[in-house]
């Protein structure tokens, strides 16, 4: 093992018995092996699959993927840290992604982001203590003609105004 890992509660992951990846995820990853000339090529899809199952990528899952793909754990971590969409911390049930690109800024995103922060009481990159919301600002969501836009999980809200926030930020 290349690094000593603890999960979010500070528990030593190597001491945990059950694997992080479900049998189904493992078999979905294995099914990709034949598609590519190298095992390494499966890494990005494997990380997407693991994240879809767990919601984020705990160290234990990364170690298991490294084992499956016959890669050094460092290679896996190297890739995970490069891409923005891989989460190494648990995120809230609702991921609030506020577009911070040009058209949205021209059309009033700045006040919007401040209002969301104030409403949730968190900064960018943080999760509310009740685990409901995680807030991040992202680059163009390719809906500039309806700026400003906010993506909540897979739902895109367009032409969002501060008064719409009560509706958009309803807890589950």
């Amino acid at each position: 093992m290349a690094w000593k890992a603890t999960d979010i509660r500070g528990v030593d992951v190597e001491a945990q018995e059950t694997p992080a990846l479900s049998e189904q995820t493992v078999s979905e990853i294995r099914a990709l092996f034949d598609r590519y000339p190298t095992r390494q090529a499966v890494l990005l899809p494997a990380l997407h699959l693991a994240q879809a199952q767990i919601g984020y990528l705990p160290p234990k899952a990364l170690l298991e993927i490294a084992g499956l793909l016959e890669l050094a754990p460092a290679q896996v971590l190297d890739v995970v840290t490069f891409y923005e969409m891989y989460w190494r911390q648990p995120k809230g049930r609702k991921l609030i992604q506020v577009c911070r690109s040009m058209s949205c800024e021209l059309c009033g995103q700045v006040g919007l982001l401040d209002a969301i922060k104030a409403k949730l009481g968190i900064e960018e990159g943080q999760t509310t203590p009740d685990g409901q919301f995680t807030l991040i600002a992202v680059e163009c969501l390719a809906a500039c003609d309806k700026a400003p836009v906010v993506l909540v999980n897979e739902t895109l809200h367009e032409k969002v105004a501060v008064k719409d926030l009560d509706e958009i930020l309803k807890p589950e």
Binding site: R35, P37, T38, Q40, A41, V42, L43, L44, P45, L47, H48, D78, V79, F82, Y83, E84, M85, Y86, S101, M102, S103, E105, L106, C107, V138, E139, C140, L141, A142, A143, C144, D145, K146, A147, L151, E154, T155, L156, H157, E158
Partner: protein, 550 residues
Amino acid sequence: MTPEELHELAQAHLEADKKLSHCLFVCGAAACLAARSDAVIEAFQAAVKARGLEESVAVKNAGCMGLCALGPLVRVEPAGVLYQQVTPEDAGAILDGLGGPPVERLVCPTDVPFYQRQFNIVLENSGHIDSESLDDYVARGGYAALAKALTAMTPGQVVDEVTTSGLRGRGGGGYRTGLKWSTVAKAPGQKKYVICNADEGDPGAFMDRSVLESDPHRVLEGMAIAAYAVGANEGYIYVRAEYPLAIKRLADAIRKAQRAGVLGNAIMGTTFSFQVDLRLGAGAFVCGEETALISSIEGKRGTPRPRPPYPAEFGLWGRPTLINNVETFANVPAIVRNGGHWFASIGTEKSAGTKVFALAGRVVNTGLIEVPMGITLREIIYDIGGGIPEGRKFKAVQTGGPSGGCIPQQYLDMPVDYESLAQVGSIMGSGGMIVMDETSCMVDVARFFMDFCRTESCGRCVPCRVGTTHMHTLLTRITDGSATLDDLALLEELCEMVKQTSLCGLGQTAPNPVISTLRYFRDEYLAHIVEKRCPAGVCRMTRAPKEVAV
């Protein structure tokens, strides 16, 4: 499916459509979907059922119809009436009015410059077919170009046709597509790859997303033709993971095309095989750069490498690889079907064909447009775009995103083509077009794009990693009022350095927004630095010294 069967399918589909009295196309692309077009479709389906019209009226989920700002849009054929801002409650009224005069209050006029100034090749099917139906695509001549290439042309002839067309890459660089294809075709080796770059990351760009959502088969057909021309049997589409709808439509289209035998093994009964695989990005802008994209498919960090060697010779897993943009591939079926000369006759001499632009920012009609190359910026912004809202004044139009520049008023009558845009210090780029009015501060705009480049720099080379951060700091100082004229001199020096010495296009073009705003709006920079004042009233100048020496 053989070419004959393909033809029969197209005919059968057209016959079946003739039996219908009306066909309703409801836009199901992302913008209209967000305006609840899914509920509109359901309402129409329920209303059709309630009236027992299933035999004579079809409701289809179609692709983008352009005027996204007025969505959800619904087109009624054969009358050709377009309805705007349709709600589920309107379904009954529209159905009951079929055959009679259209429902006046919902009609969206189509004899307006917005539609008349446009010329559709890439978007020709958009809004006219059910984007999830292979049959619809085939009925409009889909996969006929692939059949023609496979049965009546040699690979060399296909390359020649694309060369004759004068098509240039739509991903930003504008490299000659025919030349790229012939390089890959000539490269030695049995194993070659074709990659479609669908990583569309430029802020302000949403052309590729719309094409993939509205007409996915068009891109697949273009890729298959390319694969035949260059001698490849495997292809990848690298698509931004932020586009869930496009991914779903593509995956579905690949499955249907394979089942119909127009993709996969022994395509259309010939010996040609072509497998396509979908790969998702993971949120890194630099992965749109071709060598970084290849590295990402290989399962590594998406960092670019120096070129040459170019992917055409040394690409995916070291094999010769053809990599083109979504829109580039989407032009190919029309070129093969109508001939290279036809395509070359559209647009200008050096920039043939059309270009799809994503019109956004401070303009009345925002949305996707397709125009012949050589059209002027004024025609785009005022005739098609409807001008600047709220009676404000036009200030500049930004093209090419973070690699492009801001074009001021005096060039509005300039033709839009690769060379003219470069001449005034911008680029065609991938097609983002952001209009700005007098309320936009040009220094702030420059700072904005620099912030983007700074965060997206992959960190592999020093000029880009350190230079963009340093330039961003200087621009921030200008916008908060703490900068001096020395800072401005240093900024200009850095622009030159980063441009000349960066490893990939990201760094090489990162200074462009600064250079172009300095070129046309230097007075705004000086107002910030010397007078500690933001002419547009955007920058707060919080750190300006209290006593200002003017």
